[in-house]
Subunit: 220 residues, 3 copies
């Protein structure tokens, strides 16, 4: 192994913490970064390829073995873990978390000889996509939504919603912190209709209103 | 990052379109290609390793972070997207589409200390394997068959058949273009017995005969 | 492609067989290995990154495009196939088999802005994790347990147990060799209560006692 590959990666990691002001992005020397639009404090790790027409915001962390195709947009402080390919038409908003080996698609029924137009996918602010999940074309994952690991997401996911399974189904609601919202039901995990009780629904101190299809932050 | 890694990949891509006659394959300088049997016009992208005893046909596109083990055969104009490992005994026929991060296997019940013989997997002409699907050993995916994203394929898939789910089950039939075949039933997606109505079954103008277990192109 | 990348990988592979005494590990020149604790006879393939505070035992085989984060421990003669990321807190015991593109996690409900503590995952001796499976945080996969390809493992897996599906459920029991244990029921695959018949349960000649929740090797 060449000495140049015994990189000072750990040093770079500790020098480039999100909380430290840092005007320069860190690009691992084994990454291929063709865009000039990488925000300050963003880190891009080894064997990741970012094409020319990609925009990545500030203080993001983009893992190893990723691919960001022309047309991809990534907001600020987003996390994209190892092994994720983002195709043209995919947008990852601020603070979103894309787990390791999440798989995105861009054509509903691809044929090698009959390419069709790409359908966009949007991951909204603070959403969290569990490891190894698969997102079919044309999907929007809402703000603060959570997709459990290994899900196959075939429908839009509302804000704050927790889905998992193959196909992914609504399983409950998640707070801003990533805690599961409890209903008036002490058993917790069922989804309740109407306005929640006056006590805060979540340990994190925030209060939410949950209906069958929707969750809103109302205080905190 | 070294300048040599700011590759002229986009230029290479536009120079190597399938439709342009091109006697030379394009091998990215960060790929490891040990075979001499790469067909004309085929493109192999970064961080992909193709072993010595592999044959790849003409005008294929093999993405980043792939691995083609000794014994693999890939036909002409096949597409293999990012992050796919093909093991000994796997054949990908002409025009097949293997989506990103599709996972192949070669032993039904592996133990690290007790290796068994590999079971082959065949992806037939024009078949399409959706992103992140998993194909267990010994499976044949038929011509024009379509595997939905995130499926776990544990049985053979007949020609033209659409399967998805974990485990993957028959969900309908797909035309040559990758459109879903509709039955006489206006609701469409159910599988019909017997010969289809005299009007073409598919928007693409072709006519198919569908039975419970089989679909055939009969005109067009 | 540079000549240096046309590596003599096949030669290296045949020179470094598990059965040959070999005091030196083989590290592919395109791997990044920062730890000094790699056991004798272990092979590490291209584009794999092993951080500084990782311990890997003897005669392991770690495929391409893997990532072993600080804090990971791998025993002796373990096999980790291509495309696997192992996070802090994950232990892979002796002789375990981690199939290609298996996905590990370390936080149950990640949010990019609210990191929580990692939950450990343990893969016990001789366990076998099928390709493309997903293991949620905090899980233990028991000795000789087998996880079928494409599973999403959300509960502990007992020793010798076979699980698969999303979520993974108990489907039967597996012998030391990786053969499925048959009950007194000639149809085989159901799980039987109580002590097995006096004849060996398994073709491999070993005898097991199976109850609803547990399997033990009692002779052989």
């Amino acid at each position: 192994m060449s000495t140049s590959m015994n990189t000072t990666m750990n040093t770079a990691m500790s020098n480039a913490k999100d909380t430290t002001p840092n005007p320069h992005p860190f690009i691992h020397h084994l990454a291929i970064v063709e865009t000039k639009r990488i925000g300050c404090g963003t880190r891009v790790w080894a064997w990741t390829h970012i094409q020319e027409d990609v925009a990545v915001g500030d203080y993001c962390n983009i893992g190893e073995h990723c691919f960001l195709e022309n047309g991809v947009i990534v907001g600020n402080r987003a996390v994209i873990k190892n092994g994720v390919s983002l195709w043209q038409g995919i947008t990852v908003a601020d603070h979103a978390f894309v787990g390791p080996h999440v798989v995105f698609t861009h054509e509903r029924f691809p044929r090698s000889g009959f390419p069709k137009s790409y359908e966009p996918i949007t991951i909204d602010q603070e959403a969290s996509i569990g490891a190894g999940s698969i997102i079919v074309p044309g999907i929007r994952i809402g703000c603060y939504a959570t997709v459990g690991a290994g899900s196959v997401v075939t429908h839009h996911v509302p804000d704050y919603c927790l889905v998992f399974g193959n196909p992914a189904r609504v399983q409950g609601w998640m707070c801003v912190w990533g805690l599961r919202l409890k209903s008036g039901d002490p058993m917790g995990l069922t989804v309740v209709e109407g306005v929640a009780s006056s006590s805060p629904l979540c340990e994190c101190g925030r209060k939410y209103e949950i209906s069958q299809e929707k969750c809103q932050l109302i205080a905190g």
